[in-house]
Amino acid sequence: MTQLILFNVMNGLIIGAFYALMAIGLSLIMSLSDVINFAHGGFLAVGAYLAYTMTPYIGFWGGLIVAPLLTAVLGLIVEKFLISRVYGRDPLYSLLLTFGLAFIFEDGTRYIWGAQSLPYQVPGWLMSPLSSSLFFLTGYRVFMIFLIVVVVGGLFFIMTRTRLGLRIRAGTLDLETVSVLGVNVRVLRNLNFGIGIYLAGLAGVLAAGQLGLQPTIGASLIMPSFVAIIIGGLGSLTGTLLGGLLIGVASGVTAVFLPSATEAVMYVMMAAVLLIRPQGLLGEEGRF
């Protein structure tokens, strides 16, 4: 029994890291642009499909590098021509816009790549478990964690050490002041959106390695990401990371005792957090 729980805790961390990757991208966009990007799952699917399409030509590794970048470029374009047009208006409109885009993305991927699940192949040596007793630790999952750690670490570096990151963080706190200081807010939001979408694209490629590649691949990941953001603290990246890991572990452990409550448990956690600490675990007061 203890072993089973331990397994599930570790497994939950792996799933949680994945939720966090999604959620951090969403959270970045939400903090700076006040936009809930419902199309995040759609971008995720695009990233996965692009990687699938490119793999025969540039291999798994090439796809892993290029596909998220291309997705980010698509993100930059969508932001520039569509989403940026609703900045400054009632947040209602940005929600509806990305909601509509989510429809278009899902249907578009189905139109281009078909409704049939596609087999996305990961190099053979990554596919096997590392050890026979810890069989759920496949090479791929360990690699996934490694990559997520590197990327999230890189993101935190960008956010705390580079000019772009400092401006984004300042912008999330007080956009007016930042614009007064001569920062081009349009460009800032555009780049920030691109970073968020890059993370979605990367999550897509990683997801395709262990899930069937179908147009709805991103849809089921959006809600856990929301919950991760709410639990972790609106506007706090560290909080979002923590939130993702927490719900991953919680649903992993719940699967042992009460499998039918694996989703419910994260919402119960969310309700508890909202009651006790409405700004989220690491959120700042008054930032919501």
Partner: protein
């Protein structure tokens, strides 16, 4: 037929054909549409085009369109051309499916209604069709109740009941793996009945259940279930997930190396799922409901060739055949009864044997009287990582099981038909 919408093409083609019958001179006339509407026989299709079952729905659609063309080429139904009215039922929104069924029946005045892949939606449509007394064919929704406890006189089903599938495959799993089974079952009506069927079939052969979990429909990460399953140390893990869930769970099980520690098996497996799996995950013991590579059955080769023309080179799956057989069932029912009256047609189909060029299986297939369930052959076997002669030849049939031998008896199905007085 490429990936873009088949409805639009279908409409255009049927329109042209209808036009040819009415007379070339009238094609340009604005009244063609009206004339066509009055003269054609409409078959309503209420099947998924979007969501999880979109791929299956598309394949059934290809089979349906092909059958319609064949029928029209031979003069149609009762001398009238046939036209499909296709509605997207969505993959799981029963309210939409019901609304669409009512729309097809009330507004489009269809003579037949087909659907659905999702068992729940199939049952919901069956109830509407029964209320309106419309001849209904379920191409591919498997749950037992449709031709069992909730059966209707007017609802016919092409695909098998879950119990039949379970009976067909249970022996092979016990032989290949052993008697202790752990179930991973999708948490909805289809999954429940399939698991019950497997348990029953296994019990009859001395198999036991060592554990099981219900997984929600649409689960993406099955790892915690797999960990539990592995901990129970079974001879075989029985996967009852379908579609995308099936792809996800098998892909993850094989990544965990479970195929090397225990036997992976299940009941129904579809070519669509195999195609979505990476080669190393194409493992286990399963049952197919129809398979395209049957070199000794006459007519199959031609059928495959024709489907390839329409699907961009892809082979037919069981789904394609379901759609094909469903439309032919409608045409045969009308021809048999020489009427479009639903009661007469349903009476005419009791015990009706499909002609071999439509059944396309060694022992043929017939609609069992009193239940309206098609009793076909089933194909027990194992997948292969890559096809030898054809990349889509991914299944090896070890044994063809005659459905008559593995179907539950009419009493066991609990079907009580509610014929109108």
């Amino acid at each position: 037929m490429t990936k873009d919408g088949f409805t639009s093409r279908l409409d255009r083609r049927t329109l042209l054909k209808a036009g040819a019958v009415i007379g070339a001179a009238q094609i340009a006339s604005p009244f063609v549409r009206v004339a066509r509407a009055a003269d054609t026989i409409k078959i309503g299709v209420d099947n998924p085009l979007t969501g999880t079952y979109a791929a299956l729905g598309k394949n059934e659609g290809i089979g349906m369109a092909m059958a319609v063309d064949e029928i029209n080429a031979k003069g149609g139904i009762l001398g009238r051309q046939v036209e499909l009215s296709i509605e997207d039922s969505t993959s799981g929104d029963a309210s939409t499916a019901v609304a669409k069924a009512r729309k097809l029946i009330d507004r489009d005045q269809v003579s037949f209604i087909l659907g659905n892949i999702n068992s729940a939606l199939a049952q919901a449509i069956a109830n509407v069709a029964n209320e309106k007394s419309v001849f209904h064919v379920v191409p591919g929704g498997h749950t037992d109740s449709v031709t069992g406890s909730n059966c209707h006189w007017n609802t016919f089903r092409v695909c098998n009941t879950t119990q039949t599938e379970a009976n067909a495959v249970a022996g092979a799993v016990i032989k290949n793996a052993g008697k202790k089974w752990y179930y991973l079952t999708p948490d909805y009506a289809f999954g429940h009945t399939l698991q019950a069927g497997m348990e029953k079939a296994a019990a009859a052969l001395g198999g036991t259940k060592v554990g099981g979990d219900l997984t929600p429909l649409g689960t993406t990460d099955f790892s915690s279930y797999l960990i539990k399953a592995q901990a129970a140390n079974p001879d075989a893990i029985i996967f009852l997930q379908q579609g995308d869930d099936g792809v996800n769970v098998l892909k993850q099980a094989v990544q965990f190396g479970l195929d090397k520690k225990t036997h992976l098996a299940g009941a129904q497996l579809e070519l669509e799922v195999l195609l979505g799996l990476p080669p190393e995950a194409r493992v286990g013991t399963w049952v197919f409901e129809w398979y395209w590579n049957q070199p000794n059955v006459p007519g199959v080769k031609e059928f495959v060739a024709e489907v390839r023309k329409r699907s961009g080179g892809h082979v037919p799956t069981a789904r394609t055949w379901f759609g094909y057989a469903s439309i032919h069932t409608c045409a045969l029912a009308a021809a048999q009864a020489n009427s479009l009256d639903a009661v007469k047609m349903a009476r005419a189909m009791q015990g009706f044997k499909l002609p071999p060029e439509i059944a396309l299986m060694p022992d043929g297939a017939y609609y069992r009287a009193g239940q309206n369930q098609l009793i076909p052959d089933l194909y027990v076997g194992h997948p292969q990582a890559t096809g030898k002669d054809d990349p889509e030849d991914l299944f090896v049939v070890d044994q063809v099981v005659n459905g008559a031998d593995v179907s539950p008896t009419l009493e066991e199905t609990m079907c009580k038909q509610d014929w109108p007085a």
